[in-house]
């Protein structure tokens, strides 16, 4: 029930924004469409309804963090582009997803967040999807923070995904 509620709330808010008709009826229509879409979605997870407010707050904070990272990343790269010497120490580092459940969602969202951070970009996954290969522009800087950052990110992702991450292969 929680999964349907969370998905349909997000979809109905998107619906309100897209249609620009802010009425209870339109919100209800969005909610209905959200329920239909959530119902036909291939992956269903059991999320207790009590976790939904926390999930939404964490999701919003996570999106704000991503925007900040994109701004930092853009400014850092602009400085590099205009520097006399670009000073690149490029390389590929293997980083563990640190997720024992091996969830595709966690792997995908972690890769997305790493790519948004300044100077890092996920280029490949290992076959078991437990290791991410990250291309970095500055090896010295990235070596130190990628692992601790992933640990912190993981707790956010667990909250956003309702602490009920489906085990790999389960539907």
């Amino acid at each position: 029930m929680g999964f349907y509620l969370f998905s349909s709330l997000l979809i109905s808010l998107t619906w309100l924004g897209l249609t620009r008709r802010y009425s209870i009826e339109n919100f209800g229509l969005g909610l209905f469409l959200g329920f239909v879409l959530a119902f036909v979605a291939p992956q269903k997870t059991k999320i207790p309804a009590i976790h939904i407010p926390m999930m939404i707050v964490t999701l919003l904070l996570y999106i704000i963090k991503l925007y900040i990272e994109v701004f930092k990343s853009g400014i850092l790269l602009t400085r590099r582009v205009f520097a006399r010497e670009t000073g690149l120490n490029t390389g590929i580092i293997a980083i563990s997803t640190q997720d024992p459940s091996g969830s595709d969602w966690v792997a995908g969202l972690s890769a997305h967040a790493i790519t948004a951070t300044p100077g890092d970009m996920v280029v490949e996954f290992s076959e078991d999807e437990q290791i991410m290969y990250v291309h970095v522009l500055d090896m010295q800087a990235s070596q130190g923070y990628l692992d601790p950052q992933q640990k912190a990110r993981l707790s956010d992702l667990y909250t956003i995904l309702g602490r009920a991450i489906p085990a790999k292969g389960k539907k």
Partner: protein
């Protein structure tokens, strides 16, 4: 109203400048992976700045622009990742890497798809 237009114009100019920086980065950085950092990330910031500028110029469009900004944020890193993965699978090498864990872990790293297929056929 004039102040909103002024702020919107500043954001739009910033967006255009960041997009330009992304393009210059493609010429300045040495290999495809580094170039993707410039073209992907800086250009994303350019688009986001343009979206913010548009929100100041047309406040009524704000909800749509908010969703547009979110879609850009969600899809742009995924596009960069997809291109980088395709380059890696095609056997594109980095220029002067300091460290390469991918080559260490994957035996046939940087072997182009054509070569791999030829070997399998042989």
């Amino acid at each position: 109203m004039l102040i909103l237009e002024l702020i919107g114009a500043i954001w739009l100019i910033l967006g255009i400048l960041f997009s330009l920086v992304g393009m210059i980065g493609v010429f300045r950085f040495p290999d495809v992976y580094s170039q993707l950092h410039a073209s992907g990330t800086v250009s994303t910031l350019g688009v986001i700045c343009c979206v913010i500028g548009a929100a100041f110029l047309h406040p009524a469009w704000f909800p749509r622009l908010l969703i547009l900004g979110l879609f850009v944020l969600l899809t742009s890193p995924a596009a960069g990742h997809a291109i980088a993965k395709a380059a890696l699978n095609a056997g594109m090498r980095m220029k002067d890497p300091v460290r390469d864990d991918y080559q260490r872990d994957v035996p046939h790293a940087y072997e182009s798809i054509e070569n791999a297929i030829e070997k399998e056929v042989d």
